[in-house]
Amino acid sequence: MELQAESYEQMAKQVVKEHRQVKWFLLGQLLKRKAAMLSLIILVLTVTAALFAPWVAPYPDQGMGAVNISQRLSPPSNEHLLGTDIYGRDMLSRVICGARISIFGGMFIVVTAAFIGVPLGLWAGYNEGKSGAVIIKVVELFLSFPATLIAMAITILFGAGWSTALIALVIPWWPWYTRLVQGEVLSIKQMLYVEAARMLGYGKIYIIFRHLLPNVITPVIVMILLDLGPAIIAIGLLSFLGLGTQPPMADWGLMVWEGAQNILSEWWIAIVPGCAMFIVVTAFNIFGDALKDILTPGRSSG
């Protein structure tokens, strides 16, 4: 049977079309979950707002820290929808600008951790020899100590600041990915297709990248999504203690700390960033859960 090159192309197109249908199917699944859709909308809105903060915020300079003393401590009003803080800065603008560190910082932590953790996990899982054992021991050492505490220690050592805080959080964060991937690899390694590849004479590196990596990507993506909320909170935890972002820049944790002094009278200063954090983290969690259900059906959602 002889086939022309065009017919192959057509075949390929057909398949692409079918795969698009699969993607639509996934989206359809997502659309059916109202909570997840609501979360997605919230996330898209906040991420867009954070991305275009200078254009979106009503008072971008105040968002970045410029003071506006004449209007300090004014409660929510038409002019300042969410009120102003002790320097008279518009809380809405502050929250939008704070979203940049909180959300993008969270993304940075999680993605970097995955980039470090996944290759190590692949190696440790596939190679149960000495190097793998060393990786696992290191991972266990990290995991035997509360992550945020490690991060606190590192920020104390290297000086507070949002960049230090982010790096300090990546350091105890990657072992979780290594452990996840290692566990996955241990079971995927048993799969017959890996044995088939070995039987064909392929080497470690090939098998790791061709067979193991694509099959751990989905759980890793799910974990990344589910980790975004905790990462945002972790940044807040450091900033709240003054170990993270430094004024006049602010992430939401620092803003809650700034407002904590006035909580009994000018409550909005702490409540606004706190709620922002709460809503976004909840949205990430619900969206992550939904995606987990869709992408890895049958796995328990914990």
Binding site: M11, L192, E195, A196, M199, L200, G201, P214
Partner: protein
């Protein structure tokens, strides 16, 4: 049909069961014991036995996928028992395997073209641009529609997935294929399709098979000769057809009689073999089968039986094979009564 393609001599495959702290094995799981076997060019050899008798391990041993404890393996005259790692690669394309679970043996993240290409790389004659054409040819060969070449494994049914596995095995242009329970997970009607296909391919491509299965009833359809395995040891080798009419070894006989026949008029009934399968980590002395054997004598628990030739390419491993052979008519009547 006279030339031996694969020669096994006294092959043992043992795995460490318990280890000392220094990693020295204390006890072994003896999965394959003292197997001497010839697989002749162009034949289809069946390997049958209950689960846990070591038949899959033997298949993997032959393909050098598990470490060998001792013994010799020759493939087309070349000693492959002492080769490791890269040195085995030239032989890889010549021997292939099809696994039991079709779903688990295909990477869900790769489409069929990629899966086949992976094997086609080993086929040094072909250039990359020929892969697609060759892939389509392979699909045709296993009765799959060529336009499905860009689909993913989960879009196929179990039987189709098994065909893809077979296509992958064929992609390297092998001489020898091991089918490890390749049809066990399939429904009868699908199983029949796949067995016919395997049969057809052998005729077309002049292949040699090792066909591993726990199901005796398909042996006659798929194989020329059958080796019966018990506790890591081959107890009998017989022509596929005569194995059922004239089993020599008591175990073969028990195995045969335990199979329910899809024929209500069959008078045979189900015979019962007492006791439990011997543990590979704790094998009995003498003949491994003696604790379950109804004809056992003192000698059975003391000395391991020798191989008794019963035909040109068949033999049995039993102390009393001749005596039993003579009484076979008697036993059949006893059974039905």
């Amino acid at each position: 049909m006279n030339e031996s393609l694969m020669t096994l001599s006294k092959v043992n495959t043992w795995f460490a069961n318990e280890k000392t702290i220094t990693g020295k094995p204390v006890s072994w799981i003896k999965a394959v014991n003292d197997v001497t076997l010839n697989i002749y060019k162009g034949e289809s050899l069946g390997l049958v036995g209950e689960s846990g008798c070591g038949k899959s391990t033997l298949g993997r041993t032959i393909l050098r996928l598990v470490p060998l404890h001792s013994g010799g393996i020759r493939f087309m005259g070349d000693d492959i028992a002492s080769l490791y790692g890269k040195k085995l690669r030239p032989f890889r394309s010549k021997m292939q395997m099809v696994f039991q679970d079709p779903k688990a043996s295909l990477n869900p993240k790769m489409n069929i073209f990629k899966i086949l290409s992976e094997a086609l790389y080993l086929n040094t004659v072909l250039g990359k641009k020929d892969f697609l054409e060759q892939g389509v040819k392979l699909l045709n060969l296993v009765d799959l529609r060529p336009e499905h070449i860009f689909r993913y494994p989960h879009e196929f049914s179990g039987g189709q997935q098994q065909r893809i596995s077979i296509a992958r095995a064929l992609a390297t242009d092998p001489d020898f294929i091991v089918f490890d329970e390749a049809t066990s997970a399939l429904d009868v009607s699908v199983q029949a399709q796949v067995i016919n296909l395997i049969h057809e391919l052998r005729r077309q491509l002049k292949l040699t098979y090792l066909f591993i299965s726990h199901d005796l009833s398909i042996m006659a359809h798929a194989c020329d000769r059958v080796a019966v395995m018990y506790a890591g040891q081959i107890v009998e080798v017989q022509k596929a057809q005569s194995l059922f009419s004239a089993p020599r070894h008591p175990y073969t006989r028990a195995l045969k009689d335990a199979v329910p026949v899809a024929d209500p008029s069959s008078k045979k009934g189900l015979s019962i073999l007492k006791g439990e399968v011997a543990k590979l980590s704790d094998l009995p002395s003498g003949c491994y089968f003696h604790p379950r054997c109804e004809f056992k004598q003192d000698i059975c628990s003391k000395e391991p039986p020798d191989v008794y030739k019963t035909g040109k390419r068949s033999w049995v491993r039993c102390h009393f094979q001749e005596a039993l052979w003579e009484q076979r008519e008697l036993m059949d009547t006893k059974e039905s009564a």
